[in-house]
């Protein structure tokens, strides 16, 4: 059957065709802009967990980054321009991290990115970072994401292998011979746990009585902890996330365990001492730094300076936790590299980061020239919680 359109339908079709052509012309015009517009700010991207189980770390890191930006902007900015931060919440979810980085690069036109502290999310964005040559600095401690051979990724804290080896030594030093292990199913906890246990196995002085697992969404650990205590260990190793470490320690103590507890840098979070209270005593862990409880306990001039900046910006409040330190270091390292590069070109920033050396940070002295894989720091410390205070294990044992 011949289908003849009415004059009214023909008119509508013409109108739609004109609109489509207009859309195409606008799109082509936008694409053929001939490059980026000269901006009066330098845009830096950040993605991290502002919500979800890891929000404490994300919010505190953001706090440190914001302080560094305010400090640099007050001192004239970077390359004569003010620094502008574009940030997204990835809720600690890998897919959201990839979306955030895509948006930062494609839509927000950032010159460099400060990444999440979650190693799995960093490694997920690695290929995109390499392809677009937009450098990323991150504070995830897992060795995995710099083991991939990426050249535009840089770590702003020591790798956790430097800590797990020291932790294994500490486990032996305090006389533990029978170790029960609880390991979270996330990538970072699994990686660190494997490294620590490998180091212990190599020495052959400590026997693992049981290794059990937990999940991020667990709300009770009675089952796992009871089975661990039933093996009668003289040390318990918790390779778990910081958000629930306090609750696990509290429950472990309430089940009657009184011995040493070993863990990672997450044990430095002040929430752990708040939740577990005296139960947090005898917790031994590795960490780059530990935020002191009072201003008077700041150990370096830079730390005191950071506390001053923090109090000024956050109405007298002290840094939330050591993730705040990490954020400040990340931003400081990146901005110094951009300043040294004297350019916002990705390759120039990357080269400046790779050759950065002698920069005093809260984590110690950054020396990226001393590494070839994007690392910049050599070692971590071993701490112990004693009478509610965090101190070096070496001082405690002395």
């Amino acid at each position: 059957m011949l289908n003849i359109a009415s004059p009214k339908a023909m008119k509508s079709k013409k109108l739609i065709a004109i609109l489509l052509i207009l859309c195409m012309v606008t799109a082509f015009a936008a694409c053929s802009n001939g490059g980026k517009e000269e901006s009066d700010t330098i845009r830096i991207g950040y993605y991290g967990p502002f919500t979800g189980a890891n929000s404490t770390t994300g919010v505190a890191t953001f706090e440190g980054i914001s302080i560094a930006i305010a400090e640099w902007n007050a001192n004239g900015g970077l390359l004569g321009k003010q620094i502008e931060l574009v940030y997204y919440d990835d809720a600690g979810v890998t897919e959201a991290a990839i979306k955030a980085v895509t948006r930062l690069i494609d839509s927000d036109d950032v010159v460099a990115i400060i990444g999440s502290q979650m190693s799995a999310n960093i490694v997920a964005t690695g290929d995109m970072i390499e392809a677009t040559k937009i450098p990323q600095v991150s504070c995830g401690t897992s060795a995995t994401w710099l083991d991939q051979g990426y050249t535009y990724l840089f770590r702003t804290v020591p790798e956790n292998t430097t800590g797990t080896g020291s932790l294994a030594a500490a486990i032996e030093t305090v006389g533990t011979t029978k170790l029960a292990v609880l390991c979270s199913k996330d990538e970072a906890s699994q990686g660190s746990c494997a490294q620590t246990l490998a180091a212990l196995e190599a020495n052959g002085k400590v026997a693992v009585t049981i290794k059990t697992e937990c999940h991020e969404d667990d709300t009770d650990w009675t089952g796992q902890l009871s089975s661990m205590i039933a093996t009668n260990p003289d040390g318990v190793y918790l390779s778990i996330l910081g958000e629930y470490a306090g609750q696990v320690i509290k429950q472990l103590r309430s089940l009657g365990y009184t011995g040493y507890i070993f863990g990672h840098e997450v044990m430095s979070l002040n929430e752990i001492r708040e939740i577990a209270q005296e139960g947090a005593d005898k917790v031994i862990f590795f960490s780059t730094f530990c935020r002191p409880d009072t201003y008077e306990e700041c150990s370096t001039a830079l730390e005191t300076h950071y506390w001053d900046l923090h109090k000024e910006m956050y109405n007298g409040a002290i840094p939330t936790n050591d993730n705040s330190y990490k954020g400040y270091d990340e931003a400081t390292i990146l901005f110094t590299a951009i300043k040294n590069a004297n350019s916002t070109d990705g390759d120039a920033i990357r080269n400046a980061l790779a050759s950065l050396t002698g920069l005093e940070c809260l984590a110690g002295t950054a020396d990226y020239a001393g590494f070839t894989d994007g690392n910049g720091f050599a070692s971590m410390n071993i701490y112990i919680i004693n009478n509610g205070k965090i101190g070096l294990l070496s001082d405690y044992l002395a």
């Binding site: 697992e213 009770d220 009675t222 089952g223 009871s226 429950q251 929430e271």
Partner: protein
């Protein structure tokens, strides 16, 4: 180890039980599934935390205030949303979707008011030494949780079976038209049911808050397993909700202790699917086929 796990499972089951009872109460009274309850649990925990930790009120007063506020909120949700949809003869799926919408609003509102950081719920007891019962160490908060949960279950049971209003609620749940003809204010009984369900969720939140921390994701963590408890017990049956939840809590703890925590969710949700497939009325023969 068995006794320790059993106690741990009962505490966990009690928390699930508060939500599961709420699910069942509302389903029994209105025939709708209500997905706001997990977030009402979260909101109740935040209110309890605000009164107890921020304002420094005694725990009992904080809990009471939170319960009253949540009761009012439950009634407001019923009157402001559910009843409007019900009066318009909206399909049940729309009511369910509306409760999901309210749930998201509550989560976002809590995020705006209290922020995304986890809140530490201070210890309720000054002495944190665990109490030894039959050789098992139990924390004081856990004992309080068990006592509060079982007391609430008992009070609710007495209220529903012995009080005039409770009898009216049950009558309205069984046959709204007949109850209305007998002079029972059906709208009021449904409103009160929503209020009680919100109160139960609040109690669950305040029971678990000292063991966990308070965050906007607190309800989500507990909501699905409570739902599984209600289904296994018999969706719409109060006693079933309690028993189903206790079963879930105990299975979860025992599987973690004797098999592996890796399998606990597989076993719990596998059991739920099995119950739905083989015995949809659950352990307590809830009426799931309608008239």
């Amino acid at each position: 180890m068995f006794l320790t796990c059993l106690v741990g499972g009962i505490v966990l089951g009690c928390t699930y039980g508060m939500l599961a009872m709420g699910y069942s109460l509302i389903y029994q009274a209105s025939g709708y599934m209500n997905f706001t309850l997990p977030d009402l649990l979260m909101l109740g925990a935040f209110l309890g935390w605000t009164f107890f930790s921020k304002l420094g009120l005694p725990f009992a007063v904080s809990l009471l205030l939170a319960l009253v506020l949540m009761f009012i909120l439950g009634i407001l949700i019923e009157r402001g949303v559910i009843r409007i949809l019900s009066n318009k003869k909206a399909k049940p799926i729309l009511v369910v979707l509306a409760t999901i919408g309210i749930s998201i609003i509550i989560q976002n509102a809590a995020n705006l008011v209290w922020g995304s950081l986890w809140k530490f719920f201070p210890p309720i007891f000054k002495d944190s030494t665990p109490i030894k019962v039959a050789g098992v160490s139990i924390s004081r908060e856990n004992i309080l949780a068990i006592v509060l949960a079982f007391s609430m279950m008992l009070i609710l049971q007495l209220f529903l079976t012995k009080s005039k209003f409770g009898t009216a609620m049950r009558a309205a749940a069984q046959n709204k038209l007949a109850a209305s003809c007998m002079g029972i204010n059906v709208n009021l009984t449904v409103s009160v049911t929503y209020g009680i369900a919100a109160m139960l969720a609040c109690l669950g939140g305040n029971i678990i808050a000292p063991s966990l921390m308070v965050s906007t994701s607190l309800g989500t963590q507990l909501g699905t397993k409570s739902f599984a408890g209600a289904v296994i017990g018999g969706y719409g049956n109060l006693a079933g909700a309690i028993v189903g939840s206790l079963l879930i809590g105990i299975i979860e703890t025992m599987v973690s202790a004797y098999i592996s925590s890796v399998y606990k969710d597989l076993i719990i949700y596998g059991l739920m699917v099995l119950v739905i497939a083989v015995k949809p009325s659950g352990l307590f023969k809830a009426n799931v086929y309608g008239d």
